[in-house]
């Protein structure tokens, strides 16, 4: 259904009486539009250059994830969670593992917790790095910042490959621990990458942070007020850019996050520039967490010996496991009926819920701003449509 027939929009002047009055133009942005970060469509009604109505249309990448998971055993669901938010598969694994662990009351060994924090924070680094690269690409920087960001991301993906065997579809965590221990030399290699990362952040900041064109394009664009952020249930960097102090690593301190000292950067205006800066600052905090985790990581087992991975049958019940994924609160809600596969498997994807304020951010802005506003939300359609 078209946007125009759905609502009557008040125009600046009445087209029936004023011959020079503008008519609304309906534009369908996507699903093949390159800046929509996947197959995502926006039905936009334009008055001249201004957006008067925007309707997000998604579902083009729907893969029946939740239903497939309900027909799988608990172990078989794990590789499917990789494919939700395919940029950061390890945090998806973690959220699902956490949900199953809550369901069955499994304790995770110390070393596995540290490995989870290290891989999780590395995931955050590479997600934020690629996001700021993509965002600059959306603004028309013709690749330079994106290539710099991908250069760093590549180093982290190499670490993932050395640890888990795959660059993106890591399938690393298991309920009760992690699949494999760090191979020889991996921790030293990781330490090197972590130590070199602040240099990249400095470089990226001097590249663009004070760039006048960037500031003109982003400051005051796509504002989300604090109230709206709370009411719409935004989480992650989107909410923190609007000044909502809500970070699950602090609020929930799942895993062992209460052992690390780090700060939660907060934005003031909730515009695109704030969201960009929040990511840069969060990466610095992630580096701090990584340094502490690398310092403290103990040796020991990485799997809970009492957990049977194959033929795993938790007792009947329900559980919700949530973590602070790079994009926001990622939650898995599981209901078990005592059999080998989950009775209900529900994902709470941060991207989808952060997208709900898209129209509020875009109203009254120009078409060109839609692209960067969408870019600053940080969506991955694998997660939105599932």
């Amino acid at each position: 259904m078209s946007v125009l027939t759905e609502t009557t929009v008040a125009l600046s002047s009445d087209p029936t009486t004023d011959p020079n009055a503008s008519q609304l133009l309906e534009v369908s942005m996507g699903p093949q539009h390159p800046s929509t970060h996947g197959v995502f469509r926006m039905d936009v009604a334009l008055d001249g250059e201004q957006v008067v109505k925007l309707k997000p249309v998604f579902g083009y990448l729907h893969r029946n994830h939740e239903k497939i998971a309900e027909s799988q055993n608990y172990l078989g669901c794990m590789p499917y969670t990789d494919r939700l938010d395919y940029i950061c598969s390890i945090t998806n694994n973690w959220a699902y593992a956490l949900a199953v662990e809550t369901l069955a009351g499994i304790k995770v060994p110390e070393r596995a917790e540290y490995l989870r924090v290290i891989t999780g924070e590395l995931t955050r680094l590479q997600n934020h790095a690629s996001l700021i690269g993509f965002l600059m690409q959306d603004m028309g920087t013709s690749g330079t910042p994106l290539m710099y960001a991908f250069r760093e991301r590549e180093k982290i993906l190499d670490l993932f490959e050395a640890l888990t065997g795959a660059r993106m579809m890591c399938n690393y965590m298991r309920f009760g621990g992690c699949r494999v221990d760090a191979p020889a030399g991996w921790l030293q290699q990781t330490q090197k990458v972590i130590d070199a990362f602040p240099k990249f952040l400095d470089e990226f900041e001097s590249l663009l942070r004070t760039n006048e064109i960037l500031m003109a394009r982003t400051q005051g664009v796509g504002r989300v007020s604090r109230e709206l952020a709370i009411n719409a249930g935004l989480t992650g960097p989107m909410a923190r850019a609007s000044g909502v102090n809500y970070d699950l690593r602090k609020v929930d301190s799942y895993g062992i996050y209460d052992r690390f000292s780090f700060r939660v950067p907060l934005g003031e205006f909730g515009d695109v520039y704030d969201r960009y800066m929040i990511r840069l600052l969060e990466m610095r905090e992630s580096v701090e967490i990584l340094k502490q985790a690398m310092r403290d990581i103990p040796s020991g087992p990485i799997m809970d010996p009492g957990t049977k991975i194959r033929g795993f049958r938790p007792k009947a019940g329900e559980a919700y496991g949530r973590i602070e994924a790079p994009k926001g609160e990622l939650g898995f809600y599981l209901i078990s009926d005592g059999t080998g596969n989950p009775y209900r498997f529900r994902v709470r994807p941060p991207s989808l819920i952060n997208l709900t304020v898209l129209e509020d951010m875009c109203l009254g802005r120009n078409v060109a701003d839609i692209v960067i506003i969408l870019g600053s939300v940080d969506i991955v359609l694998g997660e939105v449509d599932r």
């Binding site: 590789p79 490959e161 795959a166 590249l207 006048e212």
Partner: protein
């Protein structure tokens, strides 16, 4: 001053551009088909079947227990169990897969089959240049295409394969010792009708 930020960024770009002529670290691109990065040891893509010895038909470790077929999340493994038993590499009669197909166009490289296999028979390959013009048959690998020697497995995943080989050798030694012990006990029992020799206990140990 207006434009200061832009200049600052351009200096950074210039540093990267000219730096790439003097600093090798800044040259991150690899000219792929001619130049290749070394394979990372843990890398995995599609499954293979390990066989011991030189004959792939005789040496397959797989005993067609169907665990991987059941555990495979996208269900890309198809196994037909044999009706008769054949001696495996150690000479023990075992079932074998009469048919073992993996559709690698469906496989999602999760390596759950590797994790659940109790016989260390299925492992992950690193071969990635598998494109074919045959859309259906070309990506449906059968037993012969999947079978790779233990030497090959040792070459691509040395640490992992070394651990597997050690564990298998350990197991075989234990089984052999058990067999020997049983045989000796039998012989001792047979010999027990006359009074047992005094050195019997040390022989068993």
């Amino acid at each position: 001053m207006l434009g200061q930020g832009i200049l600052k960024g351009l200096i950074e770009t210039a540093r990267n551009f000219f730096g790439s002529y003097v600093n090798k670290d800044r040259l991150t691109t690899v000219q792929f088909p001619e130049e290749r990065l070394p394979q990372i040891e843990a890398t995995r893509d599609f499954p293979l079947l390990v066989y011991d010895g030189t004959d792939w038909q005789q040496g397959l470790r797989c005993v067609a227990c169907l665990i991987c077929e059941k555990a495979c999340p996208p269900q890309c493994i198809f196994i037909e169990k044999s009706t008769d038993k054949k001696p495996d590499a150690t000479g023990k009669p075992q079932f074998y897969p009469a048919r073992f197909d993996i559709d690698i166009s469906v496989c999602m490289s999760c390596q759950i089959c590797v994790e659940v296999c109790p016989f260390d028979a299925i492992k992950m390959d690193v071969e990635f240049e598998l494109s074919t013009t045959d859309r259906f048959g070309g990506l449906l690998l059968d037993k012969q295409q999947l079978a790779k020697s233990n030497e090959y497995y040792n070459r691509i995943h040395p640490t992992e394969a070394g651990a597997v080989d050690a564990a298998l050798a350990d197991e075989r030694a234990k089984a052999e010792a058990k067999l020997r012990q049983a045989a000796e006990a039998k012989a001792a029992a047979a010999a027990a009708t006359p009074p047992p020799p005094p050195a019997e206990k040390t022989v068993i140990q």
